[in-house]
Symmetry: C2
Subunit: 207 residues, 2 copies
DNA sequence: CAATACAAACCGACTAGTCGGTATTAACTT
DNA sequence: AAGTTAATACCGACTAGTCGGTTTGTATTG
């Protein structure tokens, strides 16, 4: 493993994610960030145009990764049920790894100036659209119940997953694997039609 | 209807909820609040010890109301399924009415100094406990599937509901009634046992 | 007169961003 | 390989502006 020297820019990002998560964007000064990593203000503004640009960078790294992972999960499978399960799996995994990022993403997005927030909002919608497409497809193929509006179903799932960043603690009694399993079970039972239930049961918790 | 003259204090709270929701606590100055309602800084600090105290007041009004409504929904019914439905109904209603409050509640809770946030966190847990008790009871009575850990189920439901504040728009194409109906259906299907399904079907969307 | 309810000017602490300068590395020449 | 130049990366004292909160003043009410 080649021990690559981390750039100052990367060290700033890494430190900021942690600090922003803990205390919030507005309560973390640039001075504190650079002091935290033993750098200087000059170094900071050499790498970033502004504090806002740093916040944007954190947002973009995270949401771009989520989109990439979601799309990969989509492409890897070819039925609505398997795709949905893969996406749930992927998403909760990401949320497990990037909890600091996602906290910043959802708590501090309002602090982004418009020039940045426009881009981020577009990408956020893009992520949701991938999930919604899976639901729509599933309704078309009668794998998923058509009597539920797919937009609401999508947002219900998104909410369920996203909210984990508020309460999940890696040091807590529950592992993300357990949570994923339960979420998957609940979602499948909620939306899979009786006729497609056979394919779905393999992804459910045994009872 | 007696036209009661609104106190300055109430006007400050009302204006602040809106402003905080729109721009975030840190981006709204005390000067802007008082200017917005045509008052003065002296008036503000006559009614509030600090800007933080105002934020606390907004938090407390909201969460206390949620607890009260949840408890009432609990007391009004006597089976897990009816209680759960009533609570879902109540909660989404509250979220419909108090969207500005809830936005402030979830986006700005980190801005509360510890003296206040302790109280708020306790109340927030209290609200969750009421819901969790319903789930637990239901598992005891075999109305709800016991193979799903009730803590995860509870947080899944909480997440689904809470997330609505992020995307629901009163001016949008979906009404909160529709959303509630779909949420209720999904939750019931996800957790109600086969043997109790008979009681639950009346609350589901017809398919 | 005394207490309340507000107004308006003011203060001090804090912070994003600047700017002149220095160290470090890369590129080129001889 | 050594010397020279240029560009990049980084430093830290400083500033201009902002904002929560205070103080002093004034009108009203009981």
């Amino acid at each position: 493993m080649p021990m690559v020297k981390k750039t100052l820019k990367q060290r700033i990002v890494d430190a900021s994610v942690v600090l922003f998560q803990e205390d919030g964007y507005h309560n973390v000064t640039v001075d504190r960030i650079v002091e935290y990593i033993g750098a200087s203000k000059g170094g900071f503004y050499h790498n970033f145009k502004s504090k806002d640009e740093l916040l944007y960078e954190i947002h973009d790294v995270f949401i771009s990764y989520v989109i990439k992972q979601s799309q990969e999960a989509y492409d890897k499978y070819d039925t609505p049920i398997t795709r949905l399960c893969a996406m749930l799996q992927t998403l909760t995994q990401v949320f497990d790894m990037y909890q600091a990022h996602i906290t910043v993403f959802y708590e501090e997005s309002r602090s982004l100036p418009e020039e940045y927030s426009e881009i981020i909002h577009k990408k956020r919608d893009q992520y949701r659209d991938i999930l919604q497409k899976v639901i729509e497809d599933g309704q078309q193929t009668k794998d998923f119940r058509t009597e539920l509006p797919c937009t609401i179903v999508t947002m219900a799932i998104v909410g369920m997953i996203n909210w984990t960043y508020k309460w999940f603690k890696q040091s807590g009694p529950l592992t993300m694997e357990e949570i994923t399993e339960v979420f998957t079970d609940m979602v499948l039972r909620a939306i899979v039609t009786e006729q497609a239930m056979e394919e779905a049961v393999q992804f459910m918790v045994k009872g």
